[in-house]
């Protein structure tokens, strides 16, 4: 059975992990390689690195980081943040990343999705959608949630799929950081409309939230950051619990 994936998200700035794992026996909590190895051993199915202050002059630092991570771990990982062109995508993929996550640039230039899919295959192209409830629909935001768009999140998800996205990373801005649980209605609205894998993000606080996202919203993967970094929840414990509830997960011996 295709397993439901558990994905820790790491924010990086100038090649360093910020808000990194605490209380872990790491020599350097800001070192992306140590973080990646830690999560690899914990049984993370995939990793997401988000370059939170991506600028073109820092691209070289990011590329170096991607190469080091790709050398250190043997599970797939996604890189996002500031990716604006097919050339940006190519450079990161050639450095060893498996997928590229695009957000603001995809909204500004939706053809970037299809160009990326044509050049590298849909499986390399993740469209990240930051959504917030607005009266009667979920509105898409870009630029790290600072800029509102006119897009409806569900409609945008459908268009991203049509243009060749291989996966959607859906973050609820209403739930992000609250640990109140994933935004099930948002996720369900999207999984019912698209036929590509959906990663749930924003709001994870305890084990039952992950189970609900899979069972009730039909997502294929769940992402969390601080919950894992601060070791409020260990991935191996989460997977044991999900398995106990009959959800297929990959366990690492």
């Amino acid at each position: 059975m295709l397993a439901k994936r558990i994905i820790p998200c790491l924010d990086v700035d100038a090649g360093r992990v910020v808000k990194g794992t605490h209380f872990v026996n790491l020599v350097d909590a800001g070192d992306p390689v140590e973080q990646a190895q830690y999560y690899d051993e914990e049984g993370a199915d995939e990793l997401v690195f988000l370059d939170i202050t991506a600028t073109s002059d820092r691209r070289a630092i990011l590329i170096e980081m991607v190469k080091k991570v790709a050398t250190a771990i043997h599970v797939p990982f996604t890189v996002g943040g500031g990716v604006r062109s097919v050339e940006d995508m190519r450079e990161i993929l050639r450095a060893g990343a498996d997928k590229i996550s695009i957000n603001s640039a995809a909204v500004a230039h939706p053809e970037l999705i299809s160009e990326g899919a044509r050049a590298f295959g849909s499986q390399c192209v993740v469209v990240a959608i930051d959504a917030k409830w607005d009266h009667d629909h979920w509105r898409v935001f870009t630029h790290g949630g600072r800029r509102a768009t006119d897009l409806d999140a569900v409609e945008w998800a459908v268009e991203a799929e049509r243009r060749g996205a291989g996966e959607l990373l859906v973050t609820s801005m209403d739930r992000d950081g609250t640990q109140d649980g994933f935004d099930l209605p948002l996720l369900k609205a999207i999984t019912q409309k698209v036929n590509i894998p959906v990663i749930a993000s924003g709001g994870a606080g305890k084990i039952s939230h992950f189970i609900d996202a899979v069972r009730e919203a039909g997502v294929d993967a769940v992402l969390a950051a601080s919950l894992f970094h601060f070791r409020q929840l260990r991935i191996r414990d989460l997977k044991e619990a999900m398995k106990h509830h009959g959800i297929p997960v990959r366990t690492v011996s």
């Binding site: 295709l2 590509i196 990959r250």
Partner: protein, 198 residues
């Protein structure tokens, strides 16, 4: 020495690093002339049609057929496995390498496509590539096209996604995997090691 064929697919880095981590010497071939013996690895990124056109343009298609006939161990990964077949629904009319009989199909129906993530494989007993691999072990897949399982003797392991498809191929010195062993944690590294140690 393992020669990794570069057919403009892109990401060779992960495969090369995985081989390096396992202590194998590897080189990238951009031209068949550069081959100096040893094993051959056909990595897997990109599209069937583009890849076959590139292989033909560079003479790798003839080279690979000759090497397969000569008994050189060859491992195809993901698209590199699909290229071994006669044709694919991804590029109708485009001939594959034809080293194995059969057609590559696209996942259809209610399934989410690509088939992306960790899925379980069912190995058949006594396959060299699968020494140390257990029934139900998880490996990482990312593909939209597949080879249907039909009980053929070259099928060394299968996987289920909507229907049963071929996950591992083993026929004499010809090997292939539909998943990405370089991204499949310990199970994948074991499979690569098995190939290295053939």
């Amino acid at each position: 020495m393992i020669s990794v064929i570069d057919y403009n697919g892109g990401n060779l880095f992960s495969v090369l690093k995985a081989l390096d981590a396992l202590g194998a010497r590897a080189q990238v071939l951009t031209d068949p002339e550069q081959f100096s013996g040893g094993k051959i690895l056909i990595p897997g990124v990109g599209a069937f049609g583009d890849a076959m056109q590139h292989l033909r343009r560079t003479g790798f298609d003839t080279f690979l057929r000759e090497q397969a006939q000569a008994g050189t161990p060859i491992l195809g990964i993901c698209l590199g496995m699909q290229l071994l077949f006669e044709q694919s629904e991804e590029a109708p009319g485009e001939a594959g390498l034809g080293l194995l009989n059969g057609e590559v199909r696209r996942f259809r129906g209610d399934l989410k496509v690509p088939h992306m993530g960790w899925n379980q494989i069912e190995p058949r007993p006594k396959r060299r590539m699968l020494a140390g691999v257990q029934s139900g072990d998880y490996v990482y897949f990312a593909h939209s096209y597949f080879v249907p399982a039909s009980g053929h003797s070259f099928e060394a392991a299968t996987c289920e996604y909507g229907q049963r498809f071929v996950a591992v191929i083993e026929q004499d010195q010809l090997f292939a995997v539909q998943f990405h062993p370089e991204k499949s944690h310990r199970v994948g590294m074991r499979i690569l090691k098995n190939f290295i140690e053939l």
